[in-house]
């Protein structure tokens, strides 16, 4: 991101020409003629070198810090600019508009493959492994995005500002994670950590006057150490299992309660049916009885006998055995045994 332009120009074209000139001087020929040639060649070479090294371009995302005799004299915006050659003016290009990124715990390995980015994180465990407040370990990967806000400060306040930013980011992240419980870091703490870390890194870099503006701190993968991960998965499974068990019980409830409610309604409805039937029958029987009673009262004796005989007449054909018991006699006297004889003619003539 920083290129030094002035010095490369000065070493590029000068010395080889001088060597050639010396060779020419040694190899003979008329000294005077050679002298004239040497002067013109030297002057031409100097002119060409001056012309080539007096212009520089600044790309749109860059700013150039110009120095004259080592002293900073200004910042130039994108475009083509003039400078004094021969190493008097020096230009340092700084990409101020670009958002730069530092990765912790992993590195973006390949972004060329269309739209796909591969990451490698295996060998950066040292960066990502840290201790939480409950003295457990956790593997945190994060990204710090920043911009060079002040190119002069960026170049001249610290010798290694980007390396410092790395160190400070690691230190701050570990402080914050160390001040939280592992479970918090894994779940709810991410946003809070990003916020605090960004502020804290910025305030420290400001104290160094490093000219760096931290735009975001983004947490990437936050996971327990590899050896512990199966146990964490087991917890998740157990949590699922808990839900499953509760759901299964609930399912049984859902299958039984409505059924029982229906059955209850049925029981009640049946009882109501019984009630209706019972009352209706009672009423019917009462009405019948009352009607018969009314007739009976007209002629009690006759009706009584008639009813009795009618009933017997109806009943006897279906009766298996009729016994007549005489008072004072020991055994009952069988009168009729119609069914046993298969004979059903047991009717008297008194109907």
């Amino acid at each position: 991101m920083i290129q030094s332009v002035g010095s490369s120009g000065s070493t590029g074209s000068g010395p080889p020409d001088l060597g050639d000139i010396l060779k020419k001087l040694m190899s003979g020929g008329s000294p005077k003629k050679a002298g004239m040639g040497v002067t013109s060649v030297v002057v031409l070479a100097l002119l060409a070198w001056a012309a080539l090294s007096s212009f520089y371009t600044v790309q749109p995302e860059q700013r150039a810090v110009t120095k004259r005799f080592g002293e900073v004299v200004g910042i130039t915006d994108p475009g083509l600019h003039f400078k004094i050659p021969f190493g008097i003016d020096e230009v340092q290009l700084v990409a101020t508009e670009r958002v730069l990124k530092q990765e912790f715990g992993f590195r973006t390995a390949d972004t060329r493959e269309a739209g796909r980015t591969t990451y490698s994180s295996g060998e950066f465990e040292d960066e990502s492994l840290m201790l939480t407040g409950d003295l457990n370990m956790i593997d945190v990967e994060w990204v710090v995005q920043y911009r060079i806000a002040d190119p002069i400060k960026f170049l001249y306040a610290m010798r290694e500002p980007t390396r410092t930013l790395r160190d400070i980011s690691e230190s701050v992240m570990r402080r914050i994670v160390g001040n939280m419980l592992g479970s918090e870091v894994l779940t709810v703490g991410r946003v809070e950590i990003q916020q605090i870390a960004g502020d804290e890194i910025q305030s420290i870099m400001d104290r160094y006057d490093a000219g760096i503006r931290v735009s975001t701190v983004e947490m990437q993968d936050v996971v327990p150490p590899p050896a512990v991960q199966p146990a964490f998965n087991e917890v998740n499974e157990a949590r699922q299992e808990r839900e499953r068990m509760i759901n299964e019980a609930q399912k049984r409830v859902n299958s039984e309660i409505p059924n029982a409610q229906g059955a209850a309604l049925r029981t009640v409805a049946e009882a109501e049916g019984y009630a209706t039937e019972r009352v209706n029958r009672a009423e019917g029987e009462s009405v019948r009885f009352s009607a018969v009673l009314r007739e009976y009262r007209e002629a009690p004796e006759v009706t009584r006998s008639r009813l009795y005989l009618e009933t017997l007449n109806e009943v006897l054909p279906t009766i298996g055995q009729v016994l007549v018991v005489q008072e004072g006699q020991v055994g009952p006297l069988p009168l009729l045994d119609v069914n046993r004889n298969g004979e059903r003619r047991a009717k008297g003539g008194e109907s």
Partner: protein
């Protein structure tokens, strides 16, 4: 010949110029040295400068510099071995003193290594691990833990408020390092603990502890699941019994009311002539007799009497 002379003069002039003039970069400060002896004040304003041709110039960086320590294994007060990686920032504040005491940056670095490493070692080994990891405002709500039983850990006191915490520890290291630093012409800006980790063997122990911790949480979840399931089923059983018994009660009530109503109706009707009712009802029950039942008639009963009479006739 003339041009050769000219060339020689030009070369000499250039040589003299390069010996007399020097540029001081924005990032640098310089001391002019004459025959090994520093002359004059520190030059810190950048630009084109002049010196005598026989004088040398020593340049020193003016900017904030980085010191990065090695990873060192240090036991804490609680005898846990941890790996500590510290980093510091410093600058050359007095180039004259710097030049005489340590000569150059690598000389300064070795001195800084000695001082900072030993201070970090002293401070860490007299501090509990919690103090190094946590900050001053450490706070844990035991009630809100994933599993409250985790708060009762033998090796770690979760609620212990650090006396110092990470920031004050770092401030203490800086202070002690500054105090024990001889006059080198450098100023230490800050010292920070970059990384703290367990050594390999402790790490394995911690991992197995974490595994056990997780397994206990998992077990709790499972048992919670079983418990909740029992609870739900128990509630269901209660509800079922309530529903069924309520229905039964209601049914009995309805039946009872109906029976009472029927009784009242019968009573009202049959009460008109109880004697006839018994007769009438008896006849009814005869009708209800099934096949194969045996009818016993008294010899003096009406039916038999008529039968006898008819036989006699």
């Amino acid at each position: 010949m003339k041009s050769i002379a000219l060339a020689i003069v030009a070369v000499l002039a250039l040589l003299l110029g390069s010996l007399t003039f020097y540029t001081l970069d924005e990032a640098k400060q310089a001391i002019v040295v004459q025959f090994g002896e520093p002359i004059g004040d520190v030059i810190s304003e950048p630009g084109l400068k002049i010196k005598m041709p026989w004088q040398n110039v020593r340049f020193f960086d003016k900017r904030l510099l980085v010191w990065d320590g090695d990873v060192t294994q240090i036991p804490t007060l609680g005898r846990e071995f941890i790996l500590v990686d510290a980093t510091a920032r410093w600058r050359i504040t007095d180039p004259l003193l710097f030049l005489t005491s340590v000569r150059d940056e690598s000389g300064a670095r070795t001195r800084l290594d000695d001082i900072i490493d030993s201070v970090v070692r002293d401070m860490v080994s007299s501090t509990e691990l919690e103090e190094i990891v946590r900050s001053k405002d450490w706070e844990v709500d035991v009630e809100e833990l994933e599993d409250p039983s985790l708060a009762e850990r033998g090796d770690v006191n979760l609620e212990k408020q650090p006396k110092l915490g990470r920031e004050l520890l770092e401030a203490g290291i800086l202070e002690r390092a500054r105090d024990s630093m001889p006059a080198l012409g450098v100023e230490l800006q800050d010292v920070r603990i970059k990384r703290v980790n367990y050594i390999e063997s402790v790490r394995r122990q911690v991992e197995s502890r974490m595994i056990a911790e997780r397994q206990s949480i998992a077990e709790r979840f499972r048992s919670e699941g079983r418990g909740r399931s029992q609870e739900v089923l128990g509630n269901m059983e209660r509800d079922l019994r309530r529903i069924r018994s309520e229905a039964a009660r209601e049914a009995e009530e309805i039946r009872g009311n109906a029976d009472a109503e029927a009784t009242r109706i019968y009573g009202a009707a049959f009460g008109a002539d109880p004697e006839f009712y018994s007769f009438f009802r008896t006849l009814e029950s005869y009708r209800a007799l099934g096949e194969n039942s045996t009818l016993m008639l008294g010899a003096d009963s009406d039916f038999f009497r008529y039968l006898e009479q008819s036989q006699v006739e």
